[in-house]
């Protein structure tokens, strides 16, 4: 659904009101003020792909499940659910008497309609892959590709008003991670059919089912939400108003926080991190996210096709020093790919994880020499990275370590983000400062990205890995599946096609009077669980 402009008349009217800017209400104590960084990309729950806008939408919409402050899955619109023995079918039971914010009854079909709209090519949503790739809901791919328009093919159905059934082609215990509002917000069909996608930014018309409703939207400035009296748990929602503020510059956001204009920041400036952690440790929240940073090696590059050399490069990096003394952004050093997100996963690490850094470096030098490089014949490579300060610091640190430990001459090729994204597919790089944001806090979202048969194109031929992943994908229970995934990850790590670097953290400042904010790897922080004291 493409929106056309409301015409030049409105444009002129806007320009004419130049001198008539209304005086807004002063910040009140009954409002929780939260930072969302730069502009959110969309308030359309079936389209938005931004984590920051996801917070706004998580307040306004509730999925079948919800996430408590620590990120644990708790019942949302569904009060309970059960899986079939083969793990391919999940049945969700909705709470009794659920209502939309306008008082309309909220029924199971509304959730099915949300998924149908996400998959519909006319919606131009990038989120359909959650349902045909991350989990494989029957019929989802055909709908997303436009092969059919028939909603009956979708393996997600509403046999009655309080039951949602999801049928998948393969078992996927991580389905519950995808049943929250970010992936699965219900659709209020009457208001959407009346006004199209414009309804989601129109406070007068938007109908939602979360703890809050949208009251005011000013692009690039703020979104104001008010408590939804029709929410099933409204009695336990303590804060009457939540306001999300756009502040592009992190330095300005810090000042707004210090001035009391913002209660929870989007980020913390790197330059102030150490000082703030020392001065106000109780207000600084730094915890791992699902944002993994790793340096990919181009396997078609003449030097890097050599496994010993790739291994030497990975071992020569002292990750503790890199994150703690050079990057200083709170990153968590990692020697794994799918580990560090779900504590239940027995994550494999690179084979040399048990060695000391000195031992790793000695081995790295040995492997480097074995691969045929030395002082007379140094390795010459470049790291392709974006211009973001934190990424440049990390690349400079890595290049320094490669120089110091191996004598390799590595330069840094920094570029704008979009250019960097495109460079990957041109294959015209040797080391790529790569990253991946997981769809949920578990190993599988990362490991399936690396499948040789999957999209991204690392040029890695490894039928054993595909086979191990296929085998794991047949296991319906999480513990058993994790054993299979760990087996696959062992194969992945042993080929050193990348050097795992760090898990990028979330960095927030939270005012002492805000209670109910906790570290959550999944990154959901619903305002409904917070209080202002």
């Amino acid at each position: 659904m493409m929106r056309q402009g409301k015409g030049w008349a409105r444009w002129l009217a806007g320009a004419a009101m130049t001198l008539a800017l209304a005086t807004g209400p002063a910040l009140a104590d009954d409002t929780l003020d939260r930072g969302v960084g730069s502009e959110w990309s969309s308030l359309d729950p079936q389209v938005n792909f931004d984590a920051a806008a996801g917070w706004i939408l998580a307040d306004a919409y509730e999925g079948l499940v919800n996430f408590d402050p620590s990120g644990k899955i708790i019942p949302g619109a569904a009060e309970s659910w059960e899986a079939s023995a083969d793990g391919k079918t999940y049945t969700f039971r909705l709470r009794e008497g659920l209502k939309w914010s306008n008082g309309d009854p909220l029924v199971a079909q509304d959730f099915v309609n949300g998924v149908l709209r996400t998959l519909n090519p006319d919606t131009i949503s990038e989120k359909g892959y959650y349902f045909y790739s991350t989990i494989k809901v029957k019929g989802a791919e055909a709908l997303a590709n436009g092969e059919t328009k028939d909603p009956a093919v979708l393996g997600m159905t509403a046999p009655d008003d309080r039951t949602v059934v999801v049928e998948m082609e393969t078992p996927a215990p991580h389905i519950l991670d995808l049943m929250g509002s970010f992936q699965l917000a219900p659709l209020h069909s009457p208001s959407f059919q009346a006004d199209g996608a414009g309804v989601f930014i129109d406070p007068g018309k938007v109908v939602s089912n979360g703890a809050y409703v949208i009251k005011e939207v000013v692009p690039q400035s703020h979104v104001l939400l008010e408590r939804n009296p029709n929410y099933w748990d409204a009695a336990n929602v303590k804060i009457p108003f939540v306001k999300y503020h756009v502040t592009e510059d992190v330095g300005t956001e810090l000042k707004r926080y210090q001035a009391g204009e913002i209660d929870i920041t989007y980020d913390i400036p790197l330059a102030d991190l150490e000082r703030l952690s020392a001065e106000t440790p109780d207000e600084v929240f730094i915890f791992p996210s699902t944002y993994l940073i790793y340096y990919s090696f181009n396997l078609s590059h003449p030097d890097l096709s050599n496994l010993d050399l790739r291994r030497a490069l990975s071992l020569a990096i002292d990750r503790e020093v890199l994150e703690g003394k050079i990057v200083k952004g709170g990153g968590v050093p990692t020697l794994s790919y799918g580990g560090g997100f779900d504590a239940d996963y027995p994550a494999p690490q690179i084979a040399e994880a048990s060695m000391s850094q000195a031992e790793r470096e000695a081995l790295a030098q040995e492997l480097y020499a074995k691969a045929g490089y030395g002082p007379d014949n140094p390795l010459k490579l470049s790291i392709a990275t974006t211009v973001a300060e934190i990424n440049i610091r990390r690349a400079q640190g890595a290049a320094l370590m490669w120089k110091k430990v191996l004598g390799a001459e590595v330069e840094i090729n920094s570029m704008e983000r979009k250019a960097w994204l495109d460079l990957f597919y041109t294959d015209d790089w040797s080391i790529f400062a790569d990253n991946l944001v997981g769809d949920f806090a578990g190993p599988e979202t990362f490991l399936s990205y690396m499948r040789p048969s999957a999209e991204p194109g690392y040029g890695w031929e490894k039928p054993e890995y595909d086979a191990a992943m296929d085998e794991a994908a047949q296991v319906p229970d999480k513990a058993g599946r994790y054993v299979g995934l760990a087996k696959a990850e062992r194969i992945l790590l042993d080929d050193y096609i990348f050097a795992p670097m760090a898990i990028e953290p979330y960095r927030h400042l939270v005012k002492a009077n805000v209670k109910g904010f906790a570290p959550s790897v999944a990154g959901y922080h619903n305002s409904q669980f917070m209080t202002l004291e």
């Binding site: 806007g14 800017l21 359309d44 690039q220 306001k243 592009e248 001035a259």
Partner: protein
């Protein structure tokens, strides 16, 4: 005079057309597109998204579509801000940019001219040195240094004004306006002072004085009109620049104007938004330049007769 304006408008239109055409094609040379991501989605879905924004068409056809849109005053949908069209985004951001720019230039003109006059009339006095100092500071110290300093002092220490945002009405606009005005105060006072000193030495001024015309009268009707010509010449482009070029101000003070959109749009390859803002900025710049020329022509007959 009408012919003069008509000719200027015609040239302005040609310049704008060249600017827009060049921007359209040069922008496409930059690597990456609006939907580049590191997580590739299914090729069918990717193709569908690109087709929805007509990115699958040949470039000349996309250009034709853009021109046709401009003629209908429809700048198309934004590829990044999916809830809004480019017209919507400009309509929502422009009032903030205009408000801040307008007041900044008014303050800059009044204060700048006053400082300049005072400096020229009382050279090497305390006022002259004060104006000179403000001039040096205003020109030499960039906005991204003065802005945070002003926030630290007025907002965090004195707690008079908010740090950023626009949610506190006029109080939210005071700092951005003053910080934006500062470099312009500096330029305008320097221009006024130099030009005043020059004009005071001119023959017609000396003649008027010799004929016994009073000092006050000489100043108002003989000196000022001449001395302010360069200031007016500066004000036109400066007004356009202040309205359109307050990107730093908008970033530092979290003002939801269009300046910020411009940079974000370019970085995100939001082609329709880049084109919309280029068109707007180009038009403003050209119109203000024409307005300046017209005012100067009214004040100075020599300019009118040049061509």
């Amino acid at each position: 005079m009408l012919r003069f304006i008509g000719k200027r408008l015609w040239h302005g239109g040609l310049t704008l057309a060249a600017l827009v055409t060049l921007t359209f094609f040069v922008m496409r040379l930059a690597p990456g597109g609006p939907f580049s991501r590191n997580r590739k989605i299914s090729p069918e879905v990717q193709a569908n998204i690109e087709a929805a924004f007509h990115l699958d068409e040949p470039l000349w056809q996309q250009f034709g579509r853009f021109v046709w849109g401009v003629l209908r005053l429809d700048l198309g949908p934004s590829t990044r801000h999916r809830d809004y069209s480019v017209n919507d985004l400009i309509a929502s951001g422009l009032p903030y940019s205009l408000t801040i720019g307008f007041w900044a230039i008014v303050i800059a003109a009044l204060v700048g001219v006053a400082f300049g006059l005072a400096g020229a009339l009382r050279r090497n006095s305390a006022t002259d040195y004060l104006a000179g100092t403000i001039g040096v500071v205003g020109i030499a110290v960039p906005i991204f240094v003065i802005g945070p300093l002003a926030q630290a002092f007025f907002s965090l220490r004195l707690e008079w004004l908010p740090v950023g945002g626009i949610t506190e009405g006029w109080r939210s606009l005071v700092l951005p306006i003053l910080v934006l005005a500062l470099p312009n105060i500096a330029y305008i006072s320097r221009i006024t002072r130099t030009s005043m000193i020059e004009t005071l030495r001119e023959n017609h001024v000396r003649t008027a004085r010799a004929k016994g015309v009073g000092w006050r009268r000489v100043l108002t009707s003989h000196v000022l009109t001449g001395a302010l010509l360069p200031v007016i010449a500066y004000l036109g482009p400066a007004t356009a620049a202040v309205i359109t070029g307050s990107i730093l101000i908008e970033t530092v003070f979290a003002v939801p104007g269009i300046g910020r959109h411009f940079v974000d749009a370019a970085l995100n390859r939001d082609y329709p938004l880049v084109m919309g803002i280029t068109l707007l900025y180009g038009s403003l710049l050209i119109l203000f330049n024409i307005a300046t020329d017209v005012v100067r022509a009214i004040l100075d007959p020599r300019i009118r007769h040049e061509r």
